[in-house]
């Protein structure tokens, strides 16, 4: 069972991601509504996996999910961060991958997409 941090500005997405992940037997250790909060939660909980929305409103200089990702990678270079993204954000995702993200999930989020990511990242 993995401890997961969900960072997304949409409450509905946070709720549905949490539901899916719990369905797979993982536990949602914390959720955050913006990048800055995400970094704080990461420091506090050291989750096994971070699901991070790629575009979120700017808070305290953290422009989007990529900025938050970079901060998290500084804290723990082997952190597992997966980006949650929409169609048309391919360029941003590439940037995130180059900055150390382990993969991405394209919205709309589905059970199958999570299953793929879980298998790929070998989360137990």
């Amino acid at each position: 069972m993995a401890n997961i941090l969900v960072v997304d500005d949409a409450q509905i997405i946070r709720a549905s991601i949490s539901k899916y992940m719990e369905g797979f037997g993982h536990s949602i250790i914390a959720t955050a509504g913006n990048g800055e909060e995400g970094i704080v939660q990461f420091k506090e909980h050291s989750p096994d996996l971070v699901l991070m929305d790629i575009s979120m409103p700017e808070v305290n200089g953290i422009k989007n999910g990529i900025d938050a990702l970079c901060e998290i990678m500084k804290i723990n270079p082997s952190a597992k961060v997966v980006m949650v993204t929409s169609q048309g954000e391919q360029r941003l995702v590439m940037e995130a991958i180059s900055k150390g993200a382990k993969g991405y999930i394209l919205k709309p989020v589905t059970k199958e997409k999570f299953q793929n990511i879980i298998e790929k990242l070998d989360l137990k």
């Binding site: 509905i12 539901k19 590439m94 991958i97 993969g103 991405y104």
Partner: protein
């Protein structure tokens, strides 16, 4: 050759003989000498060759014309060069590049021919193989090409690349330019992705980048998919597939299906469809001059919602694009023609299938026999008494008018289709619309504009209220949402309740939006009660969604509901239960008095007032509705119409509105005696409004004389209102309110 020693020459000859296919013949072509290399490649022994004609190795594939030319050249003493396919002893072949030249004696006479040949069999085979592969690739529909890490396209690409990419030649060109010339963003994404791919070693990461590269594109002519493959040498293979036809076909099929759906919907809802189409025809004939007119925008938006129900795709798309143009103030009369064309395209489709008669206006109504009998009795009474009783005639006329009344239930039923459709388009799960109420409750035709506008209530419920299935489950709700529409008649009113079980409205969002739109000042927020805040959603341009979709989000939807409601003198109350649902409670008068004189006069006054405020004063009229009670604190100016009937009108205007009106009257000139003017101004406005409205009054009232405006004691006014047929109207504007009353005094029979 003099400087070579003999052994040098022997040595060189041996070396040469091992590697060069050489031979000497006499003038007739009989072989005199062959080198070791010749022996080896031809598979004959030297003994088998010497004394034989040179054509022992001639291959049947070689045309005789070549040899004719060869002999002509060398026999004339010139050197011949060319490529020849030769036959080996055991039927295999070899290719040589040959140079043949004449051998002369000391007198210059030709005594034979010497030839040296180079084995080019491998090259020939490679070329042949290459041609075969190229031919194969060129005959495949897909385009193949390879590019290197400098983004340069390599030489071997299949011919179809040129067709797909619409290029003359792509060799050595930059792949990003060729693939995405017109799309800077895709180009950047592509280049960034490839650069990452060149750098990374990890195959998993490579796969992620590959999945993020642009997979589809279209230039001005061809739509194509792009597949990528990294080759073992680090170069990229690209496979292009032309999907233009496929996409066109898919679209054509989709289009056909939509058309079929439209026809089925129209056939099953003939009455509503025909009526809607007829009213749109009238609308199209109307003047589009003032395209910024809110009423026009609302009408367009309502029509879009209604046509969406009927699946009239061309019309919906055309209205949608016109709305977008208006939003960006790019509307021209050319666009109006587009709308007409699109509409006629749909109409033609319907007429082609059902015949032209199908769409003619409906001119018959169902009438209860009882009603006809009543009228007959009334008429007989009227004739028998031979009286000149206009009042009785009026009653008979009333009964006749009511024959056109229609079932309120049926008016609402139209929305059952739209609900289904909205739900599907916004990916929500929904039970069918439930309508609870008496099917035989008959209302005036006028209700149709209102019931039509309810489409906005439904679309708002579905788009913004009902959550998606996942969220609903999460919050322990049934995964399917439900909208219930119930009505009943209570006294003279119809009570209509439309409820959904969605997430309700976050009033904080409404407040934020209202502040943003300047509908309310920040200081005043605290003085508003919950209902007043909720009512903001009926304001013009108010929309909770940031996006424009074909379904909702124009910000005029709910405003048009309120507008149509005000025309019926109805009221609406909103019940908001956060996370549980939203209900709209409408109270609409529907019996007798809807047609009474004060209402008819009131309608005329409202129309004039709206025009006066909007066109002359340039003030947005936000809301117009009827009031229950008169505000006795205000000071009213009154005016009386006298004649066959007496009508008293009164007006009250907020200070800011008075200022604004003064500005209009004086057009920037200096105002003297401002205070005095202000007092008489509302009387002046009332005079204008009534004067302009008289021609639109019921015929009994058009011959009346307009009295002198006076300020009437409020107590008297109130007594008048209580004891006579009256109508109280409130107009809310950005500069405060304007209140009007219309009191019809006893008719002087």
């Amino acid at each position: 050759m003099n400087h070579f020693k003999n052994f040098d020459i022997d040595f060189l000859l041996n070396l040469y003989g091992d590697n060069v296919i050489a031979s000497l013949t006499d003038t007739k072509g009989i072989i005199k000498y062959v080198s070791d290399a010749y022996v080896e490649i031809s598979e004959y022994s030297r003994e088998e060759l010497i004394g034989q004609p040179q054509n022992i190795v001639r291959h049947p594939d070689m045309p005789s014309s070549i040899f004719k030319e060869l002999w002509e050249t060398i026999s004339s003493g010139k050197t011949w060069k060319g490529e020849i396919k030769n036959l080996k002893k055991h039927n295999d072949f070899y290719w040589v590049k040959a140079t043949i030249t004449a051998q002369r004696d000391d007198n210059g006479k030709i005594i034979g021919y010497a030839s040296v040949r180079q084995d080019i069999t491998d090259k020939k085979k490679a070329i042949k193989l290459h041609n075969q592969i190229q031919n194969m690739l060129d005959n495949i529909e897909d385009g193949f090409l390879i590019f290197d890490q400098n983004f340069k396209i390599m030489e071997s690409y299949s011919k179809n690349c040129l067709n797909i990419l619409q290029q003359e030649n792509i060799y050595n060109k930059n792949i990003a330019d060729v693939l995405f010339d017109n799309d800077k963003e895709l180009k950047e994404t592509f280049i960034f992705g490839c650069e990452q791919l060149f750098q990374t070693q990890c195959t998993d990461t490579k796969d992620i980048y590959l999945s993020l590269l642009p997979q589809k594109h279209y230039n001005h002519k061809v739509q194509y998919t792009i597949h990528y493959k990294i080759l073992s040498d680090g170069n990229f293979l690209i496979l292009l597939r032309d999907i233009t036809n496929q996409t066109e076909l898919e679209q054509k099929i989709k289009h056909e299906q939509k058309m079929q759906k439209m026809c089925i919907t129209i056939a099953t809802h003939k009455e509503e469809s025909v009526e809607l189409i007829q009213s749109f025809i009238t609308f199209l004939k109307s003047d589009f001059q003032n395209i910024n007119d809110d009423k026009l925008k609302m009408d367009l938006h309502t029509f879009k919602g209604l046509f969406a129900q009927l699946e009239m795709i061309h019309t919906i798309e055309a209205i949608h694009s016109i709305e977008t143009l208006i939003k960006h103030t790019k509307f021209t009369h050319h666009n109006r023609r587009d709308l007409k064309d699109a509409f006629h395209q749909d109409i033609k489709m319907i007429a082609d299938i059902f015949g032209h008669q199908f769409l003619s206006p409906i001119t018959f109504v169902k009438v209860e026999l009882e009603h006809i009998n009543k009228i007959i009795t009334d008429m007989q009474d009227f004739i028998e008494t031979k009286s000149d009783n206009r009042y009785m005639l009026g009653e008979i006329l009333d009964s006749l008018k009511h024959m056109k009344d229609q079932s309120f239930y049926n008016m609402l039923k139209v929305h059952q289709i739209s609900i289904y459709d909205f739900a599907k388009k916004s990916n929500k799960l929904l039970y069918p619309l439930e309508i609870i109420g008496a099917k035989d409750l008959l209302v005036d035709e006028k209700f149709k504009n209102f019931t039509k506008s309810l489409v906005h209530i439904f679309s708002n419920s579905i788009v913004h209220g009902i959550e998606d299935a996942d969220t609903r489950i999460k919050f322990n709700k049934n995964e399917k949402g439900k909208i219930v529409c119930s009505f009943d008649s209570v006294g003279n009113n119809i009570l209509l309740k439309i409820s959904d079980d969605g997430e309700g409205i976050d009033t904080n969002n409404i407040i934020a939006k209202a502040l943003e739109l300047g509908l309310v000042e920040k200081e005043k927020i605290d003085t508003l009660d919950n209902q007043e805040i909720l009512q903001f959603i009926f304001s013009n341009e108010f929309s909770m969604s940031g996006e424009l979709t074909e379904l909702s989000g124009r910000g005029v939807g709910l405003a048009s509901v309120k507008y149509e409601l005000s025309r019926l003198y109805g009221k609406v109350h909103i019940e908001n239960n956060r996370f549980e649902g939203l209900s709209f409670l409408f109270t609409i008068p529907y019996k007798e008095d809807i047609d009474n004189d004060s209402v008819l006069i009131g309608n005329a006054i409202i129309d004039t007032t709206r025009n006066f405020l909007q066109k002359d004063l340039n003030i947005e009229t936000a809301n117009i509705f009827s009031m229950d009670k008169f505000n006795t604190k205000n000071c009213y100016s009154t005016i009386q119409l006298t004649g066959f009937s007496n009508v008293v009108f009164s007006i009250f205007m907020d200070d800011k509105l008075v200022d604004k009106t003064l500005e209009f009257f004086f057009q920037g000139e200096e105002i003297q005696n401002e205070d005095k003017l202000k007092k008489s101004l509302s009387a002046e406005v009332l005079n204008i409004l009534v004067g302009l409205s008289v021609p639109k009054f019921p015929s009994d009232y058009t011959q009346l004389t307009l009295g002198v405006p006076t300020v009437l004691d409020n107590f008297i006014l109130e007594t008048f209102i209580e004891n006579n047929e009256s109508k109280l109207i409130r107009v809310e504007t950005e500069y405060g309110n304007l209140e009007l009353s219309i009191i019809v005094l006893e008719k002087t029979n």
